[in-house]
């Protein structure tokens, strides 16, 4: 077996770091309907339709019942667990007027203020 490509032989392999969701292929497959729904929220017209009937809008994108529940309940952790990519989930958070620091508080079990204070103090350490 030869080395087929410069830049190839080193650096690959799976990733597993505690406390760190990895958005891999299986996760992306699980979340694709929900993520497509989040991406659609870039237009004002879609945001209006979503707001008028959140459950119906979710259903039209084919979300699973669990995913729909997570969205309707604004269960941000569940959205990530059910295949949401943070960049896509954040579209919904923005709609709700929530910041990435608010989400950070949710994910770390602290308040937005505490999370922000930790960032201002130089960030959290692994």
């Amino acid at each position: 077996m030869s080395s087929p490509t410069a830049g190839a032989p080193t650096g690959g392999g799976r990733v597993d770091v505690p406390g760190t969701p990895i958005f891999d292929g299986a996760t992306s497959r699980r979340g694709i309907r929900m993520n497509k729904m989040f991406m659609s929220l870039r237009t004002a017209e879609a945001r209006e339709r979503f707001t008028a009937d959140e459950a119906g809008y979710c259903a039209s994108f084919g979300l699973s019942a669990e995913q729909q529940r997570a969205v309707l309940d604004r269960d941000w952790q569940a959205m990530i667990d059910l295949g949401g990519s943070i960049f896509y989930v954040y579209k919904l958070a923005m709609m709700d007027g929530r910041s990435m620091q608010y989400l950070g508080g949710v994910f770390t079990g602290t308040s937005e203020e505490e999370f922000l204070a930790a960032l201002r103090a130089g960030g959290r350490r692994g």
């Binding site: 690959g12 990733v15 597993d16 406390g19 990435m100 994910f107 960030g123």
Partner: protein, 285 residues
């Protein structure tokens, strides 16, 4: 032949663009970051290229998850600024350079890089924030046409750091073989350490960032030996996007001269940095 005259590494955090768009650059929480940009901006204003190549990733704005390219290049003459959900940024659309794009594509495919071609593409903060870091007041137009090169850093498996550096080296050769005399600026974007989700959200690693900043200038090969696992562990699940700096660095000479760098925590959840490198051999004394 075309020549890379400089390389600019910079974070592309959306809030940096938002702070500029909303006139908040003098606010206490932002002033140090923007003051840190000033020397780079001054030098760049004196060294305007004919075309810029921006290495970046999209964030659910120009590309959906049904198609995830490892490496892609835009070949259009025009890229609309994406509406990311809160209206388009009040900055100019991006003019492309299709001739250079197609030359780079042909050279890179011939060297065995399996690029995806985007003939149409809306560009998001990943590309426009770096342009704003470079040129805060573009007026009607950015300083020069742009060739976008996209890297998948969002969905595992990302390309390895070594592959990104190899792409950059091939990009450097492709630029050098362009028949026209063009001065080229290369922007490597993203980073530095940060993580948005999970129990480790808010993670920042200034020691790793300092090592990376030093090594990207003086010993980039060292950074190509790090695995995906190393990047995610040391830089956070989103900090892995620093591999895009290696594409820029690969396109430059082995020896570059640092013009300026600055490091700032936090821009949103991110350790933000700028690093500007002169790619021309130092003038003989």
């Amino acid at each position: 032949m075309a020549e890379v005259i400089w390389g600019l590494a910079t974070s592309h955090v959306p809030s940096i663009g938002a702070a500029m768009d909303r006139g908040k650059t003098e606010d206490a929480s932002w002033k140090d970051l923007f003051d840190g940009y000033a020397p780079a901006r001054a030098w760049l204003a004196e060294h305007r290229p004919d075309v810029a190549i921006v290495i970046y990733n999209d964030h659910a704005n120009g590309i959906d998850l049904d198609v995830v390219p490892t490496f892609a290049i835009g070949t259009s003459d025009h890229y609309d600024v994406a509406d990311e959900g809160f209206g388009k940024r009040p900055v100019p659309d991006v003019v492309g350079h299709p001739e250079l794009s197609l030359h780079l594509l042909e050279s890179l495919v011939d060297e065995g890089f399996d690029l995806t071609v985007f003939q149409e593409l809306d560009v998001d903060h990943g590309l426009t924030v770096p342009l704003s870091v470079w040129t805060p007041d573009p007026g009607e137009a950015w300083p020069c046409p742009v060739v976008p090169i996209l890297v998948n850093v969002i969905q595992y498996p990302q390309p390895t750091a070594a592959r990104c550096y190899a792409l950059g080296q091939a990009l450097g050769r492709a630029i050098a073989s362009f028949p026209q005399d063009l001065k080229v600026g290369v922007l490597g974007t993203g980073g530095m350490s940060h993580q948005l989700a999970g129990a480790r959200a808010g993670f920042i690693n200034p020691e790793f960032d300092a090592m990376f900043m030093e090594a990207v200038e003086t010993d980039p090969e060292r950074l190509t030996a790090l695995s995906r696992q190393d990047y995610v562990r040391e830089a956070g699940s989103e900090g892995i996007e620093m591999i895009m700096w290696l594409v820029m660095r690969g396109a430059m000479r082995a020896e570059v001269t640092k013009v300026h760098s600055h490091y700032f925590v936090p821009a949103s959840n991110t350790a933000a940095a700028v690093a500007l490198f002169d790619n021309r051999a130092p003038a003989t004394a």
